[in-house]
């Protein structure tokens, strides 16, 4: 925690904006057309499948994981630039989607899409209370921002537990949660590089698998858990290549220092995932029924 990024329950809006509000055009110059800024998924695709195909595969994975179906009302915690909500509405027939983000530029972009049935709110999940219950929840690439490095392990797990309890409450105890988050692998927090923790992702702390298991115990049953770190290594490598081309062609904007820092961080992240120092968890949670919770 620093003065510039004060500790906020559930995640620092200042820290989020530091990373995500550096210009939608900048991100568009190296992300895929849906602006999906999280690991793609190559499982089940041909070896030479493109980033666009693998991002779509990932979005479909999360939609199927919560059993998305026509008429559903779905919450996306950390909705980014809206790619997941677009797939839920246009391909799975969801009646409505609500996206939460702390990034003003992401919210503006989602609103500009004019997706029918979609609402975006600049809100921290920590204070969020929906008007009607959701049928399912997806959260991709947000969990990494929920806890702060200044917090103890127990304090972080309390934040994570509150998130899982909120997910249970937001669905009336009936909806699934599909979560995707980076997590520590062979590396621990004390070994994190100051360039990443200070310059790129300030006030953010990764979870461990143990944190997630402990924090969700008794609330949700984990029905799928996979570490797709190699997927993120490949995604970051492709992003870095695209950013480099965008820098060379002038499409990455005028801020050469920003582009170079992001290029460096993407390559460093690719190496971290490839070596297993960090991992990419995809977890599907099934709520434990109220009666089973009461009996436990």
């Amino acid at each position: 925690m620093t003065e510039a990024f004060p500790l906020r329950p559930g995640g620092s809006a200042e820290a989020i904006r530091h990373h995500y509000d550096v210009g939608n055009d900048f991100y568009a110059s190296w992300l895929d057309p849906l602006m999906v800024y999280s690991s793609a998924m190559w499982d089940g695709l041909d070896d030479d499948a493109t980033l666009e195909e693998a991002q779509r595969r990932k979005l479909i994975h999360h939609a199927r994981s919560i059993k998305a179906a026509p008429g559903m009302n779905i919450l996306d915690v950390g909705c980014g630039w809206g790619g997941q909500m677009r797939v839920l509405i246009e391909e799975f027939g969801a009646a409505s989607c609500t996206g939460l983000t702390l990034s003003e530029e992401q919210a503006a972009h989602v609103r500009s899409l004019g997706l029918k049935g979609t609402t975006v709110a600049i809100r921290n999940w920590h204070d969020y209370v929906p008007e009607t219950p959701f049928d399912g929840i997806i959260s991709v690439g947000a969990f990494e921002h929920f806890a702060d490095p200044s917090q103890s392990v127990d304090e972080r797990r309390d934040v994570y537990r509150r998130f899982f309890q909120s997910c249970l409450d937001w669905t009336g105890g009936r909806g699934r949660l599909s979560l995707q988050t980076i997590a520590y692998g062979t590396m621990h927090s004390g070994q994190a590089n100051p360039f990443i923790t200070g310059d790129i992702f300030p006030a953010a702390e990764l979870p461990t698998i143990e944190d997630i298991v402990v924090a969700s115990r008794g609330l949700f049953r984990i029905i799928l858990l996979r570490d797709d770190g190699p997927d993120y290594a490949r995604t970051c490598t492709i992003w870095a290549q695209r950013l480099r081309k965008a820098m060379a062609s002038g499409q990455a904007g005028d801020d050469a220092d920003l582009a170079q820092r992001y290029h460096r961080y993407l390559r460093l992240s690719a190496a971290g995932f490839a070596m297993g120092r960090i991992g990419l968890l995809r977890i599907v949670f099934e709520p434990i029924s109220a009666s089973a919770r009461a009996a436990a």
């Binding site: 590089n193 360039f195 490598t237 870095a240 290549q241 480099r244 081309k245 060379a248 460096r264 390559r267 460093l268 690719a270 190496a271 971290g272 490839a274 070596m275 120092r277």
Partner: protein, 95 residues
């Protein structure tokens, strides 16, 4: 006889570049950095490795990223130099 384009460096030249770079980072004379050693033995960490590859790309005049595994998975400096040299020669990496 085939003549390599001037921007394509030989494995020996690339190995010399790696040894000089590692020596500068580690504060050692180049003679103390043999090609048979691995990068990790000189304390080259992930970010130093990424920065080293970026500097190598600039020296080689490359317009695209070299695969990091050429360096991160190499068991020696010589092997990394060999992998980069082969990739440049066979066109895997465009200059």
């Amino acid at each position: 006889m085939t003549v390599s384009p001037p921007h394509i460096r030989s494995a020996d030249e690339i190995e010399d570049w790696f040894r000089q770079h590692v020596a500068a980072v580690a504060g050692l004379p180049v003679s103390d950095v043999p090609g048979s050693a691995d990068f990790e033995s000189f304390g080259i960490d992930s970010i130093q490795g990424v920065d080293m590859v970026t500097a190598l790309e600039a020296w080689l005049g490359l317009s695209e990223d070299l695969p990091l595994e050429y360096v991160f998975e190499a068991s020696s400096i010589s092997e990394a130099a060999q992998r980069v040299s082969v990739a440049l020669r066979d066109g895997t990496i465009a200059s």
